[in-house]
């Protein structure tokens, strides 16, 4: 099979995937009738129409010449994702200071050039700034460290 327009083709596949998932999950919810719509009615129809649109988009990707899908920046995805997920876990378990500092370092590592001194200064400045703004100023109830 020759994929001419990769962007369209894979977008179509994505919509079909989400549509199928919606239809599949909606099987568990009562469908009802038009006059008495059950919780499954609306999502099932959304899923069906979206999957059909997906098929049309996929076919246009097979037939019409289009640009290739550009490479993904996996390193940046991994580092930024990890930084965020760690922040989500850490803020409640080890506190605001470690959560924020780690996020700064991991995020900075996702960039092109990582300068140790600069990152450390940035982490400290951001910590003081956000602490003053959010915890002192707006009184958000984040624990600073795990013992508090």
């Amino acid at each position: 099979m020759n994929i001419k327009g990769q962007e369209d083709f894979w977008a179509g596949v994505m919509f079909i995937g989400f549509g199928a998932l919606a239809i599949y999950l909606s099987l568990d919810y009562p469908f009802g009738t038009g006059a008495r719509m059950g919780p499954g009615y609306f999502p099932t129809w959304l899923g069906i129409i979206m999957a059909l649109l997906g098929v049309a988009i996929m076919i246009s990707g097979l037939r019409v010449e289009g640009p290739k899908v550009q490479k993904f920046a996996f390193k940046a995805m991994l580092l930024l994702g990890a930084g965020f997920i760690f922040f989500g876990w850490a803020i409640d378990h080890v506190g605001f200071v470690i959560a924020t500092a780690t996020l700064v370092v991991l995020a900075a590592a996702a960039g092109r050039d990582f300068r140790y001194k600069e990152v450390i200064i940035m982490a400290i400045v951001l910590l003081i700034g956000t602490w003053a703004l959010f915890i002192k100023g707006l009184e958000l109830p984040f624990p600073l460290f795990w013992w508090r």
Partner: protein, 507 residues
Amino acid sequence: MEELLPNLALGFQTAVSLQNLMYCFIGVFVGTLVGVLPGIGPLAAIAMLLPATFNLPPVGALIMLAGIYYGTQYGGSTTAILVNLPGESASVVTCIDGFQMAKNGRAGPALAIAAIGSFFAGTVGTILIALAGPPLAEMALKFGAPEYFSLMTMGLIASAVLASGSMMKAIAMIFLGLLFGIVGTDVNSGMSRFTFGMSGLADGLSFVVVAMGLFGFGEILQNLEKGQEVSSRDLLKTKIDHLYPTWNDLKLSAGPIMRGTAIGAFFGTLPGAGPTISAFSAYAMEKKVAKDPSIFGKGAIQGVAGPESANNAAAQCAFIPTLTLGIPGSGTMALMLGALTIQGIAPGPQVMTQRPELFWGLIASMWIGNAMLVILNLPLIGLWVKLLTVPYRILFPSIMVFMAIGVYSVNNLDLDIYMTVFFGFMGYIFAKLKCEPAPLILAFVLGPLMEENLRRALLISRGDPTVFFTRPISAVFLGLTILLLVVMILPAIRKKREVVYQEPDAV
């Protein structure tokens, strides 16, 4: 009509209190700042600052958020003119002629005309809201479920038609957005849908999470990849000495400002359209009506005046459907409604009668805010330019920290952070596949409302779907929707649509 003056008086009375003036000032200041910084749009900025408004009184919170919103339009144009970098998408076209003017040593007049045009457009926008608001809200109070459903359908289709890129993908994005919107507990049956057993999703996906993921996190990933470090910013070294436009500049700009304002007001009021499409259309329009189109791209002041007036008029008029019908026309407006809900006020046509000080205070504050921007922006230009020298490698980790704290503070829920990562990745994938996220975010907000109104409409009609066509107002909305679709499929117009979006690149 005869109520207009007392209403506006009430508005100004509310808006000029010392406290509200301060919120307005903070809003436009932060907005300009955000507009100047590339890589962070108004939506992500408002989402980030939303938690900061939780403790404010409702009027103050809205005034501040609105200030951020239209402040970004100003900030975006400043950098577009001075350094050829649009701070956000609505000022992309301003770069073309604005930067050329700056290169010719006419940065001052370009900035001044942008400010004057925006201020004029903002004033007209404010008057329009004041005039159109009450009758529209009155009409909306008579709307039943079928009318609401059809109106929302029209808004969604309009957002897809006016999005750049493939229309079919944009429509598919609407359906995806609607599906994300109904995640959570079904209000009618109490059943959990698409929650995968996670209790944190019982109340649905939070708007802040989706917006920050798609427009904050996703944007950063794209920017990192482009790797266009700050060095590419050819900062203009020329001093801006004469700020004031000549009499001839003003004469040349008067027409474009009027036309731009009209175009912006039209697209802004239409649910689903927004500042970006207005600016593009205004530029195309100016090129068409000009006696000598070849001057465009070489520093034509008309190419700055038109789009700048248009995007500000649109930004202002976007409040019309939002405040009178309770139906947001864009993601940013959805966020404003979200802020209203957090303050314990149900959005809709009743806001105007039940909380007149809120509605009219906000409107008056917008005019005051626009005036503040003119006064604030011109003398502070030096500061904004300095800000641009902050390298992206310092900027984006800071944005990440603010985003993380912003998302977490809404519900104090770690799941929200994890979901932001999911939507960040989705936003990145959408960009790779050239799927426009704006229709998705609008559909996400309207999802539950659409289902509820569809359910009610069909319940009343006993399952007869023709109800949408037999009720006159609903039929008009659907007729317009179909017209919009048909017109866009016509080859001639389809081609034009592509041209409108491509024109700026071609220059």
